[in-house]
Homo-oligomer: 310 residues x 4
């Protein structure tokens, strides 16, 4: 692969944006809460951070959006750091689910052990790992997100959090079921309260690309501090690849070929080990809950840069 | 069948009690809440009421116990009376579930319409039918149970209700799931509050046999007042037969052959149309949640009196 | 209930036929094999046999049709007689399935023990009980059907049997799965061969009502010979009620209230213990596989004669 | 990563072999057919091929074993070449299944479209793609395997193929179900016949590592001929990662981190894009069907060579 210059990348991102914007109109903005439903469907942004410190953006890459399930990666990293990986993996699996992200069926069949930390049930258990350990896990997550993104102004969108809580009966069902199976230690209400705030964290593409850069850089910041042990980086990246896009992981790996995590707010953050972290945002989702223009953009990016990990 | 005299019946019930007591020690007292777990396993009582007004009892037939799911029949009758059958059946099915009484799997597959009013999900919807309509559905149920049983002293066992609420995460999961599917109108907490009190109603075998006599008597009381329309009596009896014993309805119909409803408190109330209502109580359950000695007693009864409806 | 005279019944059946025929056009003739798809949708017949020997018919009651799953009752009775009930019940359950009649899902979850003898999986196991025991189980069934119906001309419709075999991949899937679970002793091909012929037995409403009369008459023929032990009669009738109409048993019991067995050929045979056997035939099915006009006719019959068992 | 010399690798493989052999005794040799059950549990071999032509082996790396499900990769490549990728993907999905490899449950829920080409249902459909197209698909596969491995002596183990056919009722169930759903064009018997022979292909670790080298080498042979288009290479590798180890893909990616395909004969073949193809063989399986010592060996290999793709 020939080296890319910044100028090349600016042209490339604009071309990709044009391709991806052609998908707008073919998906559906998440409408299960009003705060998400009113996001304009036409939003589109990309940010790319390279391990050498270069950065590129296009479109709405600096506008904050609701990161939703992308927070599950940060929460997992925080829990692994706080209570250790073994304590996490004794309560959550590491397999793709083969079912929708908010399904209760599989959970009942497997006695309350969620399949992985990136479906709602698994993320609730991970949140519980933190809730049982620290006074204010939401604040801890916020602090971590601010530090890793370098943006001290990050905040929870409290109206989104409230809206999630009001419409979150399916998550409440999952949490109560986990509690009935003995896989939730804190009070259901407390875990849900933290969980909804995590999902309501507002970040821009650039914030997220910066925060995820250590996963592309052997766990290190640009100035060489280690945030995540290298082995853990590989393992979390593998989980992103096998479990990061709900019940669409196989197709995403097939078409795009890199570790990534999506959220129903329309964001997808991706990692190209040793090279880039990327975040794309566009609110229209496919029927599995992944951004339709976002997927198209990432496919165009890995094609153009020959950066599929396969 | 030759007519039975009261004296014959006293002998018969004692013989049946001896047979059924032989099952004690083979089952398990419900232990999911402490208030039920401490009921002595050796309890056993039967009460039989005939449509001509005769009554027989043996053993602990006058001791109150937690009626648990038996309350689902009373709640259904109350809801059918209060909001009309069509309004109930638009929200609950009438098919046996083929799964455990507290399963979430089937509910997810069928988009929030519970299979029947006698599994927990269905009973929660029926309770919601009442909660949306009346100020105090639990008090209404209590009033109805007092009137139908002729026992003005009936009361909820508040310690059982509290205990259910504390350990009721699986029911809370079901209720939140129903809410997420749009099949619960009141607040989840309100429905659960009423539901747990209904389950905690304490009645004796004699109370229950008297309260259910109208289902054996074309809907009428002994003095000829109509409590339930005759067609509704038939239909509710059919539901008892196809859905009244959780995932053990087929075997119960095969062995015993009469409409009945069981509760995890160890009670089973049964109806022999045109002849008797019967209630048996003994706390040890089989793996499906039905009283083991109670089932044996009812089988011996229908054998001896040739009263299977088949 | 006032006694019915033959004249009353002729009027009644004509009235019922008119009511039921109004349903024609609302269902679907079974079309999975051409031999069934070409039956005219407008066919309709009823036959009623009383335990005192009276018989009534109307419409196409003397025209032979493909009895399909109704044969499962005859096969079950034959197997219980041939190898004894315990040997049958060690390999098949007695619970309603809560799933479509040809489902494989539940079978996999329950390790190859079919839920009951009236879903396809259960009937295949029952057929295997016979296949392992007798040289020609299909011929045995035919002999039994001829004797019980009093019609020596009964025959298999070989074109239907061949057509079933050609289009029977779902049944073959079930049979191979049962074999893989160790719950099929004979060769898959042999069991399927017998099974398809059983389903292809052609009988009229009158033939079937006569053949099923012993189930309404304590197991006896009109001239007092015992064909089925009385206890077995009750038990088989209970199975018809809880498992005889696929995943529509609850609604059928609710509306009609008597033991019955349906077939996708459009026949439903029903039993009113102590009084009548009835068979109705009309090919249009509801989405569960039960004759739509047939169900309406039986509901009208039990309403008019007050003969629900509840 | 420092360059590895051949001498280093010989030492490395011996050390890995020692580590992996410590797992022998903790798993179970496949015993569903006698021909597999009699393979000595202590067998262990590794072969590594580098894209620069270097090769290393240790242990039983030159002994042929039954490749079983590893054949599914070759069949998929053959079908994509023969009928084109789109024709394949119209009949098979690309998502991990989240269920055991031989499950029927998911297939019924998803109307006969298998989740991916590496579970049995999917492989049967891929085989059918070939069966419908060519006279002798088994011979085609054999020819391809001989050419790609450079071993003209490769052969089917006919005793294994016969044994599979005799004990293959679960596969027959799946094939008949696919046929009933319209997703099998050839005759069930024909597809199964080819399928069993494919599974019974006998190859050594060295044969397999050589045959899979193009997947590590942009689709090219060592002498630069193109066997697979580069984009297809990436896509097939992504499928190996998300679907190649039955219901253990997530854990394998987490621990080992490279695309791979396992078979119940105890083989696992893996691909490190741009560097190596590897095959390890040892017959003892974990409860999901993957070689226990084989997984341990591959984990040690990617750790030592820092060759996880993440």
């Amino acid at each position: 692969m020939p080296e890319q210059t910044p100028a090349d990348f600016d042209v490339l991102l604009d071309r990709i944006a044009a391709t991806a914007r052609a998908e707008i109109g073919k998906g559906q903005v998440a409408d299960y809460i009003p705060a998400l439903a009113r996001i304009p469907a036409g939003k589109f942004g990309i940010a790319v951070c390279a391990v050498d410190g270069a950065e590129w953006t296009t479109g709405d890459a600096r506008e904050a959006f609701s990161i939703q399930s992308i927070s599950k990666v940060l929460t997992l990293l925080l829990a692994m750091e706080t209570i250790g990986p073994d304590a996490v993996w004794s309560r959550v699996g590491r397999e793709p689910s083969g079912t929708p992200f908010n399904s209760l069926v599989q959970l009942e069949g497997e006695r309350g052990i969620p399949r992985n930390p990136f479906i709602n049930a698994g993320a609730l258990v991970v949140t519980d790992c933190l809730t049982a350990q620290t006074v204010s896990p939401a604040y801890q997550l916020l602090t971590m997100a601010r530090r890793w993104s370098g943006n001290p102004d990050l905040a929870f969108d409290e109206s989104v959090a409230r809206s999630e809580a009001e419409h979150g009966h399916r998550n409440a069902a999952i949490a109560h079921f986990l509690k009935s199976q003995g896989n939730l230690k804190s009070k259901v209400e407390d875990v849900l309260h933290v969980y909804y705030r995590q999902c309501a964290l507002a970040m821009s593409c650039l914030d997220l690309a910066r925060a995820f850069l250590p996963l592309a850089n052997k766990g290190q910041t640009l100035d060489g501090r280690s945030l995540i042990p290298p082995l853990r980086v590989k393992r979390v990246n593998s989980l992103l690849l096998t479990c990061g896009l709900y019940d669409g992981v196989g197709n995403f790996a097939f078409r795009v070929g890199i570790p990534a995590k999506s959220g129903v707010g329309g964001g997808i953050v991706a990692v190209i080990p040793g090279r880039y972290s990327i975040c794309v945002w566009s609110p229209e989702l496919d029927e599995l809950g992944n951004s339709l223009p976002g997927t198209a953009a990432l496919e165009a990016f890995t094609d153009a840069t020959q950066s599929s990990i396969f």
